[in-house]
């Protein structure tokens, strides 16, 4: 993977999500990614089918100090909303310091049956 892309990028995250999802999850947990990569990796991780694998990681990123990462994690959670995620989204929609995060959380709650 490194030989093909050289640096972290969306194409790499998409490849990992499709072919090696556990490696993408490990990357998300590594705490070594810059926020400018982490936000897109979080969103792309949302395409992993196994909610039990990806949901806890994305839930954790909802508490990330940088708002762009929280916003990316919300997009990633779109297909993985359960009661715990919905509860966290409600808190973000009401109380997050970032207007972008509040609106992303509100949008996802509105789109969730």
């Amino acid at each position: 993977v490194r030989a093909k892309w050289g640096e972290l990028c969306e194409e790499m995250f998409e490849y990992l999500a499709d072919e090696h999802p556990s490696q993408l999850v490990r990357l998300l947990l590594s705490k070594r990614m810059p926020v400018s990569d982490l936000t897109f990796a979080a969103e792309i991780a949302g395409r992993i089918d196994d909610s039990n694998m990806v949901r806890p990681v994305l839930l954790g990123l909802l508490a990330h100090p940088d708002s762009v990462v929280r916003e990316g994690a919300i997009y990633g959670l779109a297909r993985h909303v359960d009661a715990a995620v919905a509860s966290k989204l409600r808190r973000l929609a009401d109380m997050d310091l970032s207007a972008a995060v509040r609106s992303a959380a509100s949008d996802l709650l509105a789109a969730t049956p």
């Binding site: 892309w5 969306e10 810059p34 926020v35 936000t39 708002s67 992303a104």
Partner: protein, 176 residues
């Protein structure tokens, strides 16, 4: 009265523009290609500043893979931030988006960061408006229901969930 023309860029992360983050980081968030290289030809649309026009352009933008419709859009008016604006074809699927599409032609990473800095200087004035996902879907559904051949073709391809969901609105006559 004619609405003013604006040169809009759909932003990747609305939160990117809220904080005083380093310009290099803002560039990496908003102006990078999918392979990680700097986007020296940022894609924009030259359109009139009208709600229905922004909705149309966002719907057509999202109906062209690899772009999807995951969230609302926020667009920024980029006028005056870079010198060279090229008239380049946009989505091959929609004549309106194709004609409205433009690309900035930026020399190198340093110039791109300068462009990003000029954008952020007056970002509050530049943030045009939001286009909601609901409005976008409603627009697309309306076009499919009306038998618009461009939208019927995209619905029939159904490459994304939201596009597949439009299939049931294709009129019988458009299927024949």
């Amino acid at each position: 009265v004619t609405a003013p023309r604006i040169v809009i860029r759909f932003v990747r992360r609305l939160a990117s523009w809220e904080d005083e983050r380093p310009l290099e980081e803002l560039q990496r968030l908003e102006f990078r290609n999918r392979d990680g290289t700097p986007d020296l030809k940022p894609s924009v649309y030259l359109v009139s500043d009208e709600e229905q026009v922004l909705t149309q352009i966002y719907a057509e933008h999202c109906a062209t893979p690899p772009i999807g419709l995951d969230t609302r859009a926020s667009c920024i008016d980029t006028q005056g931030c870079a010198a060279r604006l090229l008239d380049t074809d946009g989505s091959p699927r929609f004549a309106f988006a194709r004609d409205a599409h433009r690309e900035y032609d930026i020399d190198d990473l340093a110039s791109l960061i300068g462009f990003v800095g000029r954008l952020r200087e007056r970002v509050k004035e530049r943030q045009v408006r939001l286009v909601t996902k609901e409005r976008t879907v409603a627009y697309a559904r309306g076009r499919v229901t009306a038998g618009d051949p461009e939208w019927v073709a995209v619905a029939q391809l159904g490459e994304r969930d939201w596009l597949s969901a439009l299939r049931k609105f294709i009129p019988q006559a458009a299927n024949e």
